[in-house]
């Protein structure tokens, strides 16, 4: 068991490194708001050398993207790594990452989607707490996202109980799915781990495969067919990754209705909710669907490696609290 390393929390005046380990930001305008919001937070920033490179959909070649990330990580001045965006390509860098150097220079890394492909490996190889939350181009997507991002990275105390986003201004129901749909009731406590389901599959069979035993596993997906989610869940079940978890949080998962994946759609389709109920309800662990993390405009920041507690009783009677500090003083 590798000891847990907590990165130092951020303070105004700190410098953060913006790199693009996955997809290209494409245009400078994509990051313009990010720079503005970093100024508001009092953060200085350095840009990776290849951040605006393009190689297909990737921000440069694997060699260039990995060099940027390794160099930024080794930079003592840089207190946190903010990937510009997700996309695709982070997993391709894993054989080129210097995990020893990363372990010896603990710092914050935060992102979601494709960045899951860095968060899980870095956490598991070095013991460092990594943060599943917004990337540099999305931490200001909503008040909910911004507040959780700021609390998680700037305040050294535990995040505590997780609130839901405010109801729509007319006071009626939030968008489907409700943020706290209980698929299986129960109570669980364990370290948090997880991320985007496609990336969790992406790491299967490799030295970076997700460890779930006794943990609270959070998963979400975007722009994917429910039948493809079904396939990936079946793989995790075959590998006994879900059965060994203490509890499962399945996120909001944007654009996962049949036909939203830009693929040929089978003529028969199930909904995501029915796939989740079908595959997860039989597990003897609590399962909650709908939490706002990942690809929606409202994103929690969930630290991988810290203890959390889940109490799921009935719909809306769900309490998720993160009881351990994720950063150090």
């Amino acid at each position: 068991m590798i000891p847990l390393i907590k990165p130092k929390h951020l303070q105004a005046g700190d410098t953060v490194g913006i790199v693009a380990p996955a997809g290209a930001p494409f245009e400078e305008g994509q990051l313009e708001f990010a720079f503005h919001w970093l100024d508001k937070l009092g953060l200085k920033y350095k840009l990776g050398k290849h951040i605006y490179d393009r190689h297909g959909g990737l921000a440069g070649t694997d060699a260039d993207r990995s060099r940027d990330l390794n160099e930024m990580w080794a930079d003592k001045q840089v207190k946190a790594i903010f990937p510009a965006r997700g996309g695709n390509g982070a997993v391709r860098l894993l054989p080129r990452l210097d995990f020893e150097m990363i372990r010896d220079n603990p710092k914050i890394i935060i992102g979601y989607s494709d960045i899951t492909g860095l968060l899980i490996p870095i956490h598991q190889k070095t013991g460092l707490v990594t943060f599943h939350g917004p990337t540099a181009n999305s931490f200001f997507d909503s008040d909910y996202t911004y507040r959780h991002f700021q609390r998680a990275l700037f305040e050294p105390q535990p995040l505590g109980a997780i609130e839901d986003p405010a109801l729509p201004s007319d006071g009626y129901a939030p968008k489907y799915p409700p943020p706290r749909m209980v698929i299986t009731p129960g109570t669980a406590a364990g370290q948090l781990t997880g991320g985007c389901l496609t990336l969790v599959k992406n790491l299967m069979g490799s030295p970076f495969e997700i460890e779930t035993e006794g943990k609270i596993l959070f998963l979400e997906e975007v722009r994917e067919e429910p039948c493809a989610v079904d396939r990936m869940l079946c793989q995790l079940l075959l590998a006994r990754k879900l059965q060994k978890a203490a509890g499962i949080l399945f996120g909001e998962s944007i654009d996962c209705k049949p036909g939203e994946s830009q693929r040929k759609v089978s003529k028969l389709s199930a909904s995501l909710e029915s796939v989740l109920r079908h595959r997860l309800a039989g597990l003897q662990i609590p399962v909650v669907y709908g939490l706002r993390f990942g690809h929606g405009a409202c994103k929690l920041t969930l630290p991988l490696g810290v203890m959390a507690r889940l109490e799921a009783h009935a719909c809306h009677q769900v309490r998720l609290s993160i009881d351990e500090a994720a950063t150090s003083e």
Binding site: G57, V91, S206, R263, L268, A270, S274
Partner: protein, 318 residues
């Protein structure tokens, strides 16, 4: 790979063939009837699984129902082969409950495409049974396809000289006598054939049914998929350190796979070729495997990437 290969018996006219839907359900009753007529046209006797038209979401019934059909045919000595009606996710849910031991002991033929390739790969990984990556019945759309399918499973060569069997780029139904395939690494490779649909293959990684690609002549294909997703699944083979152990890589036509409007400007050929060239194993794109030419999993074969041919070095059937 020292274990002895278990080879199925070649089919003969009037053999009974079980039809299953391990994943998705045939969309309409006429789809099922079409498959039945197709198997009759091959001169086999089709036996339709009891739950093929059951419906649960996109699946042909519950896991238990689909499994009941599958294992029913596995255990039925009068059934010589199992063909799949259609692909679709769901096959994976059955993998740990399929009776591969009985399937291998009986030397039963299994042909599966798309998601059903997970079953063919797992059967080979677990029991060293020769299985077949070929079209599901709903993908056989011409008399030529039907005859290719049938002829592959019927051992017509009395001398059992498998060297006379081969697949080449000329198997493609083309109007031209030239081929313009892309060959990132020319050369010749020999190994045990292993692979199938890339999504299905990578769905087994990290599970107890994952194939060992050591000394394998790997063949991969997929269809109707986004290239950024195919890039991910190919990356799985790279980071699991499996690709370095293969002898060569045969890439299929990847029918109807493109960027689908995502920010992915490189074609799959270009995207994969950088890593294929670095790997330096003979490989070639657009080789007619899967739908147009059935490929067995297990037997030794010789792949000539330069000239576009695949030759079997041992018999496929018992």
């Amino acid at each position: 790979m020292n274990k002895t290969l278990i080879k199925p018996r070649a089919l003969q006219s009037k053999d009974r063939v079980g039809l299953v839907a391990p994943g998705a359900r045939p969309y309409k009753p006429s789809d099922l009837n079409r498959a039945v007529r197709l198997v009759e046209a091959m001169d086999f006797v089709p036996v339709v699984g009891q739950h093929c038209m059951a419906c649960l979401g996109h699946l042909a019934g519950s896991d238990e129902q689909r499994l009941h059909d599958f294992n029913g045919f596995v255990g039925d000595v009068s059934i010589a082969a199992i063909f799949c009606l259609t692909g679709g996710s769901g096959a994976l849910a059955l993998i740990d409950k399929i009776d591969f031991k009985t399937m291998a002991a009986a030397g039963k033929i299994f042909v599966g495409g798309d998601d059903n390739n997970a079953i063919s790969i797992a059967a080979n990984a677990k029991e060293n049974l020769v299985t077949f990556c070929g079209p599901n019945l709903d993908e056989i759309n011409s008399r030529t396809d039907m005859e290719l399918f049938r002829d592959f499973l019927i051992n017509k060569d009395e001398n059992k000289n498998e060297r006379t069997r081969s697949i080449s780029v000329s198997t493609k139904n083309g109007e031209f006598d030239f081929c313009a395939d892309y060959i990132p690494v020319p050369g010749v490779a020999e190994g045990s054939l292993l692979g199938g649909n890339l999504t299905a293959l990578t769905s087994l990684l990290g599970t107890g049914f994952a194939p060992d690609l050591t000394d394998a002549l790997l063949f991969i294909d997929d269809r109707d998929e986004r290239t950024d997703i195919l890039d991910r699944w190919f990356t799985m083979l790279v980071i699991s350190n499996q690709l370095v152990n293969t002898t060569g890589i045969i890439l299929g036509p990847f029918e109807n796979c493109d960027s689908r409007g995502s920010f992915n400007l490189l074609s799959l050929e270009e995207d994969l070729s950088q890593r294929l060239i670095a790997l330096n194993k003979p490989c070639r794109f657009d080789f007619p495997i899967g739908k147009t030419a059935m490929v067995p999993t297990g037997p030794k074969a010789r792949f000539d990437a330069t000239n576009g041919s695949l030759e079997f070095l041992e018999s496929i059937f018992a």
